[in-house]
């Protein structure tokens, strides 16, 4: 079995990329492939609480993030500095399975993988 890390660096609603990254993670989990998700840079915005994309006729991404746990992806990794730089309140997020990583821990996580999928 090869381990996959999906690195999601883009914000939630302006394009379908963040959603398509999550669908990839869910697919890997559904096929019992070891998979993790790392949010960094603008991808951090996927974690803001109280997202209401219905006004733009879009579906909430927070729901897909919540679904990860049910599919066996127990934590979502997120880059702490990306959040700090953006002033994101790390205590109030749309999911409660986030594990924050500093630069070094991100490097270690990447080094453990067989494959990276970049979104």
């Amino acid at each position: 079995m090869k381990s996959i890390l999906c690195i999601s660096r883009h914000p939630p609603y302006s394009s379908a990329l963040a959603r398509e990254a999550l669908e990839t993670v869910l697919a890997a989990a559904a096929f019992d492939q070891p998979v993790n998700l790392l949010l960094m840079d603008e991808g951090i915005w996927q974690l803001t609480p109280a997202q209401q994309p219905e006004a733009n006729k879009q579906k909430s991404l927070a729901r897909n993030l919540s679904a990860l746990e049910m599919f066996g992806v127990e934590r979502v990794y997120a880059h702490h500095r990306s959040a700090v730089e953006r002033g994101l309140n790390t205590e109030a997020l749309c999911i409660d399975t986030v594990q924050w990583l500093n630069d070094e821990q991100v490097q270690q996580l990447i080094a453990q993988q067989d494959h990276l999928l970049s979104f």
Binding site: P11, P12, Y13, S14, D41, E42, W45, T48, P49, A50, Q51, Q52, P53, A55, N56, Q58, E85, R86, G87, C94
Partner: protein, 102 residues
């Protein structure tokens, strides 16, 4: 003779809002849309530039439905007004031209 500037990129990753604020004139308006609405946060790297623009008699707005989609409506910095689509339309009438920064 004035211009409505729309900006749809996040200033945390892209220079468009920075460029816009350097070029816009007194009497112009700036409307933050789509990912541009992240520029309404006080934590944005363009925050000071934006405050200076407001002092130069440039009005700054953020599009309501894009703020709501991103969960930002309660967090926007002072001096930025919330605009809905009808207001977007009327802003584009009040100004003679529209420049889109993307």
């Amino acid at each position: 003779m004035s211009t409505l500037h729309t900006v749809n990129k996040s200033p945390f990753s892209d220079q468009s809002l920075h460029s816009c604020l350097n070029i816009c004139s007194s009497g112009d308006s700036v409307l933050l849309i789509e990912d541009g609405t992240y520029g309404a946060l006080g934590s944005a790297p363009t925050f000071k530039l934006l405050q200076r623009a407001i002092e130069r008699d440039i009005k700054v707005y953020a599009l309501e439905s894009d703020l709501m989609a991103r969960g930002l409506q309660s967090q926007i910095a002072q001096g930025i007004a919330i605009a809905n689509y009808p207001a977007f339309v009327e802003l584009s009438c009040q100004h003679t031209t529209v420049q889109s920064w993307y």
